[in-house]
Symmetry: C2
Subunit: 347 residues, 2 copies
């Protein structure tokens, strides 16, 4: 048997990712038919979920889950891996639906967010009650529904994999709660901000999906490898997110930019700047932030270069973690390539 190359492993994963898309399509179509028979208005949650799924997104979590599964020697024909990869995407869609209400974001994956669309419908048709409560309420239920569809796809997970699944669900909610709490109270605590970022990005997007895949393959022994890779790369992923918000443009990203400073968000980027510079700290300790001054000071610090350097270190650390003897070279190379793609993406 020859060792698979990077091209081999990519082809295999691409085929499984196609099956994930099919699974999502079939599930959402079947659900739509089911609820349409009850009443057209029962289809709203499935339509909200389907709209976000169809609008693209990076499918980062399914890709990491399948990579973890295949890198651990999992059976490519194991239907549970495809189902679980579809399920992590649905949980992500549910989290986006709730987050967009919490942040009052109006744009996601290049179109209006669900709560904004429902609010406009309500205003347009002059329905009863308050349009905002209606729009946000419906979006909350759609987010709940995404989680329930994800639960449906994980019916056959064995208990030891479900334990990881539950950790995956927990971290996003606690991370989000801390994010909201810290923003409201204008807390300047770089360590806590780093914890939140690791929780919301590293563990949720990379480490837990990899672990779910490996556990389905019966290879929980790979947990330490994936943990180190995931936590380092997750931090790099989050720093890139912060850079895109600070310097990106929304035509390209499909979501608003510049929001972090406007909403006093203590990002990982800002936490690093606070640790380096007393003036940044003084500025973010004000009850209202002077955004232009803060932006100038970040520019003066050369924060772009500082963060790029840190991202470089984190990627190197993630790649180093892959030196485990039981990872074959095809997957080692591919996971290293993924680390670069994630850390150096432009949206």
């Amino acid at each position: 048997m020859t060792t698979p190359t990077v091209d081999d492993v990519r082809d295999l994963r691409a085929r499984l990712l196609d099956r994930v898309e099919d699974r999502l399509d079939t599930l959402l179509r079947t659900e739509r038919e089911r609820w349409a028979r009850v009443d057209p208005r029962a289809c709203v949650p499935v339509d909200d979920v389907a709209a976000l799924v169809a609008a693209g997104g990076k499918r980062l979590r399914p890709a990491f889950l399948l990579s973890g599964h295949l890198a651990a020697g999992g059976d490519p024909d194991d239907r549970r891996a495809v189902d679980c990869a579809a399920a992590v995407e649905l949980v992500h869609v549910g989290a986006l639906l709730h987050d967009d209400v919490l942040d009052d974001s109006d744009l996601r994956r290049g179109r209006s967010t669900a709560h904004v669309r429902h609010l406009r419908d309500h205003l347009h048709h002059q329905w009863r009650g308050e349009a905002r409560r209606y729009g946000e309420g419906v979006a909350v239920l759609s987010g709940d529904f995404a989680d329930i569809l994800a639960d449906r796809l994980t019916t056959e997970l064995p208990p030891e994999v479900r334990t990881i699944w539950n950790a995956f669900l927990t971290e996003i909610v606690i991370g989000q709660q801390l994010d909201v709490a810290v923003a409201a109270r204008s807390v300047v605590d770089p360590e806590l901000s780093r914890w939140i970022a690791v929780c919301k990005s590293g563990r949720y997007s990379i480490h837990r999906p990899l672990l779910l895949g490996a556990a389905l393959a019966g290879r929980s022994d790979l947990a330490p490898v994936f943990e180190r890779y995931g936590e380092s790369l997750g931090e790099a992923f989050q720093l890139r997110d912060d850079l895109i918000d600070l310097f990106g443009d929304s035509d390209h990203t499909g979501k608003p930019v510049g929001l972090d400073l406007e909403t006093h968000k203590m990002t990982l980027l800002l936490a690093l700047a606070v640790r380096r510079d007393a003036e940044v700290r003084a500025l973010v300790e004000q009850p209202e932030w002077d955004v232009p001054r803060l932006r100038d000071r970040l520019d003066a610090l050369g924060i772009g270069d500082v963060i790029e350097e840190r991202i470089g270190e984190l990627v190197a650390d993630a790649v180093n973690a892959l030196g485990h003897p039981s990872l074959d070279s095809g997957w080692r190379d591919e996971l290293a390539a993924m680390a670069h793609e994630v850390a150096y993406r432009n949206r």
Copy 2:
């Protein structure tokens, strides 16, 4: 072996319900300790969930789940039944947290609702951002967290039981979505209102919990018995709810009353009145309801007596469903007694 009496089966269930309380207490205490180590503000979701659990509630769904399990001959020492009973209560708490945001209710189980408490905290401390968005956002996350704790307690359910579990989760969200949609659009459709009521009350509160318990005992053959019992009793349960809202007082119920008419809610009670009376139909087809006139017309129809009569028929039907030979007489009597308690409760 003597056949257990009603007292025997009640004692046994009471012991298991105590274990459900212990399970909830232990889980919530452990979670609180876990998140307190991260940051006190990470404890907010667990505290919101714990506050609602501690505030009482009827524990109707755990009681039906354990009754279904024991009536089906399930092992009283099966830890999964106790865990699953705790899990259905947590899902209910999660649904209440989200529903109270959707309905902007200010009182639940005798105290201020979570989103109102968080809104007041925000105003009191003069935190950043909009107090309403903060209060509602935190309550949404707390509801999400309740679902995640429920998921944790169902890790060991076998796939055939998880399928019922997922149906249980689905019906509450779709029922709630239809409720919101119908209220906003002022839809007068008694059949649809009945479907929503069956979905939100009968299936969610009675039928699915009974079925979960029976399935854990490996007795899915009891499904038709519990379905007929649950759907009839669920309708009676909902009609009692509607009567309490129409005629009750909030000091006694621990939640606001009279809201259904104020919020144009097409309840099952109102749907029955619409079918009987052209004037009620004409009144609810108005874009704004004339609540005093509607109330007078309902009184003139003797709606209280009409609904009591219907409840009586439904209870009789539920009790008749219990004539299955494999239900022993102790459980048959106890389920009949529960039907009366549920249908004739006063809050």
